[in-house]
Symmetry: C2
């Protein structure tokens, strides 16, 4: 069985270029006992993958040059040598940027297309939604009446953070880039206030939008936006840190005076909690509740989600670059093959 | 009744100078109902007071020029118009740098000279000891077999942190300045390893002393020592931040490249918890346990303490400067008048 793969051809320096990827057609091995042949329907594009393209130390091992680019996928089972999965099953897998793959059936999770659109397993009901849920509840510890700020708020993590916080009774302030996304934040995603970080008076807008300061800053971008929000934090504020996408393509050391001593002073004088996390940590404690609560919220419309679907595997590099630059609106997916549930 | 006071004459720029203080003799008011007249025995000198001499935003309101310099005190009641306190009682108060004061009896706590030396109410059984206890247990969450690092380890907070961590079964690494203190750390205070941050090969020594990395860094100094330890942190490490004494006299913005983005990257990739705190926060939840446990540990010798006692109120400014520069060994006190319990 042939598969088309996009592999890492070289480690990107800064923004990934087309030349950092190579498309390869190759033959998959015969299925062994317990294995399934998968046909990819959707590939998830996520910021953390940029980190795995570099060989700098991170929380996950880096990809090697020549590896298929990694990523979560929703696939259809087209051949099975496992009792666990039948031909026609739609499953969640981690097969990356390729059209087909052979994996152990135990490395897949069956999805129920009746319960929710299958693509949501990569977004609001998948890793990004869980990152939002676990980080907000376990680290943010939201309390009614508090103020939450989240950046990349039209993205899959930020939009879920804002809507869950709203359910919990917080004032929610979303930050995004450009007027179209900013409009979506209040009109579609229920944020109380929405700010465009490209506005020349962004900092003044932020101050106006947070008259009582900020109790939770869900940090997923870093950079100047993060700096501005950190200055608004109240005593006992919590800062879950799940990503720093603004710096993922950085190639030079930051310029300007050292802000670390001042940041530690704020941590001390405001009794701040700053806590990095990867969602895996909270799977044992929070994943069951997440699936139950989030599915219900999606069904009853209290959590909405946006998707940005590029068509065709060959569009993955361009869509990936776009996501790192914030050109997507909502969860960035690549549709690799037909969705049998639509 | 006359009192001699040392007042803030001007806000220090950098290290406090003699000219920033003025000594004033003044007459205390007559006692009103419910008040007591106190004679100061010991004054506590603590790093946070340097912060209150500046008008920069902090967790406590700054002193005003002309105010008596603040500080915890152990005093003897010499006159009482309250049923709560009798003449001869030894009490904990917050009357600062003066020989006598009139305060509401309810602003004092009676000490039992039979239970522990009265000076310990300002050190190991007082605010510094409680800072160590609460920050280590509530934020550090020590687990047997982990590695703890603390700086200013011969000081009242650091020495308590190290010894409590030892009781909890951790490997303890103390950092101090100069060979005398370093010797005390292992010989008197039970640290497993002790490092001199003035050594030219301090960073190499730190790496050697923490072969399994660092799980808890109790941050009370900041600066280059803090930077070096932060680089040794393990995944899920905890960093309680109770002070940054190395920067308290700083007058210029830090030089050098911005380290904040790199620090956030470490927070993310290592799932770090960085948490500022002031001990007050934990009084409702931890103070009763602290008094019970810590008193027992002091009595049975599992927690030892060192004191550095300057003689005479007039020595307070010099002793305060010395403490900020790390010239004290153990808890810095000023003895203002005779100790009736010795």
């Amino acid at each position: 069985m042939p598969t088309t793969q996009i592999r890492l051809a070289s480690r990107p320096h800064g923004e990934p270029q087309d030349s950092d990827f190579e498309t390869v057609e190759t033959e998959l091995p015969e299925l062994a006992d317990g294995q399934v042949l998968l046909r990819t329907i959707y590939v998830s594009l996520d910021p953390y993958v940029r980190g795995r393209m570099s060989d700098a130390e991170s929380y996950a091992d880096p990809m090697q040059v020549g590896d298929v680019v990694v990523g979560g996928t929703v696939c259809e089972v087209v051949e099975s040598r496992s009792d666990r999965r039948s031909v026609g099953d739609v499953v969640l897998a981690y097969t990356g940027w390729q059209t087909h793959a052979v994996v152990d059936a135990r490395a897949t999770r069956r999805l129920d297309p009746e319960a929710a659109p299958i693509s949501t397993a990569l977004g609001v009901l998948g890793m990004p939604g869980f990152t939002a849920y676990a980080g907000l509840l376990a680290i943010g510890r939201p309390a009614e009446g508090e103020t939450l700020v989240v950046a990349a708020a039209a993205g899959p993590v930020g939009s879920a953070v804002g809507q869950i916080a709203k359910i919990k009774g917080l004032r929610t302030v979303g930050i995004a880039g450009g007027p179209e996304k900013v409009r979506l934040l209040t009109e579609e995603l229920g944020f109380d206030a929405a700010l465009d970080h490209r506005s020349p008076d962004f900092v003044e807008q932020l101050v106006e939008a947070t008259p009582a300061g900020v109790d939770i800053y869900f940090e997923n971008v870093g950079g100047p936006v993060g700096d501005a929000v950190l200055r608004r934090l109240n005593t006992y504020a919590r800062v879950p840190v799940c990503g720093l996408v603004s710096g993922y393509n950085a190639t030079e050391r930051p310029q300007g005076a050292d802000q670390l001593p001042g940041f530690f002073r704020r941590i001390l004088t405001k009794s701040l909690t700053v806590r990095g996390f990867i969602q895996d940590e909270f799977v044992p404690t929070h994943h069951e509740d997440f699936l139950r609560e989030m599915s219900a919220w999606v069904r009853d419309g209290s959590v909405r989600y946006l998707e940005d679907v590029a068509q065709g595997l060959e569009r993955a590099p361009e869509a990936f670059r776009g996501m790192l630059a914030g050109r997507n609106v909502g969860k960035q997916l690549v549709q690799v093959g037909p969705d049998p549930t639509r």
